[in-house]
Symmetry: none
Subunit: 225 residues, 2 copies
Amino acid sequence: MINVLIADDQPLQRFGFRMLLESQDDMTVLSEAANGSEAVRMTAQLTPDVVLMDVRMPGLDGIEATRRITAAGNRTRVLILTTFDLDEYAYAGLRAGASGFLVKDAQPEELLSGIRAVATGDAVVAPSLTRRLLDAYAHHLPAQSPSDGPEPTALDPRLTALTDREREILTVIGQGWTNTEIATRLHLAESTVKTHVGRILAKTDSRDRIQAVILAYDTGLVKPS
Amino acid sequence: MINVLIADDQPLQRFGFRMLLESQDDMTVLSEAANGSEAVRMTAQLTPDVVLMDVRMPGLDGIEATRRITAAGNRTRVLILTTFDLDEYAYAGLRAGASGFLVKDAQPEELLSGIRAVATGDAVVAPSLTRRLLDAYAHHLPAQSPSDGPEPTALDPRLTALTDREREILTVIGQGWTNTEIATRLHLAESTVKTHVGRILAKTDSRDRIQAVILAYDTGLVKPS
DNA sequence: GCCACCGTAGTACCCGGGTACGACATCGCT
DNA sequence: AGCGATGTCGTACCCGGGTACTACGGTGGC
């Protein structure tokens, strides 16, 4: 049985959550808190398994309440809920030690399975937020794959399909030249440039010149200045 | 309609996935791949919305296949599935650009909602993995106000004029996202994206997004991968 | 209370970029 | 002599990107 504490300043919201949770035979609502301080106090008294925590509350907000609850050290997990998927809240909440972060417009089933996951020690983050977190931090994830060797100066395989001329064009694309500029500076017709560009995009599987610019940087054809 | 490509070396497994997906009226299975190379090739040909990618496959494994698919730059999302929730795989997969990482013992509904989330540009990570990721990285999340240690590498002067949101947008521009992609993935209207982009270009004296991409690389906002 | 800034959203318009064709000359290899 | 790869040039078409506005709610500073 999962003991839950609901912390939300809106009574109607609390009621909805309570109804939903009580309809499950593996969950009970221990009590309800209307602000952060109450949530902290009740958590200390009742030691629920999970606190369903709203972010926006008068007085002590959900983030700070989460910080104090997790700092206390007992095994109560905090699942933060918010109306808006503001990433500032997500970052702050997760930093504060929350085990999860869901948006209120989620499906009831998602909330329920989220509570169960959190209760068993797992963690959940709303997909829309996961996206932002990944975008921001995926690059920083530890690389333990052995394929992180030193880089030789040989031509990147992604560029081998290109002819010399095409690599030349790709280089100036990577420097931000427009087709017109390439044409005048290299004494070509614009149609010729377009032909080259088209072939480059096809051979490198780039959908537009932006991808080509990125490729130029990633392969080292163009170096950051 | 969500077009899905199934990549798994076990025929029985593929069959199961196909049955599950075809039972949904908003999903179709475009094709099946039995190894990584096939997955990459078929993705290029068929441009599915989502690739259901197994990690362990003979030849080119799921991680490397994911890397190549996402490197290609088209809008196909990769949802990685694995039997074991080994975090090495998860790290590698997410670093490779996967939009999600689920374990195979998940409930069918979880898989389906995961596919839908990924198709609309969101991201999903299995709760058991989210827990590990949070444990490892919650400390590294950007600080809001509280006193925090290491400085986040001083901002390049050319970017100081930008607001936080604008820098966020510039980052994804630097990753080659189109306006439409930015809109869907960040849950914005395309007009809003255009407004942001316009301001970014004005503030950074860039004549088009290409110059902005170059600037993103030169200032280190985006790093070569 | 007012105002500046920010993020969001909309409409209308123009233009460069990309695609899909076809065409021709040169060069090197067989 | 024939052929393929490469580089050059052309036309026609469509769409995404960029610009130029306007607008409005929220927040924070004064």
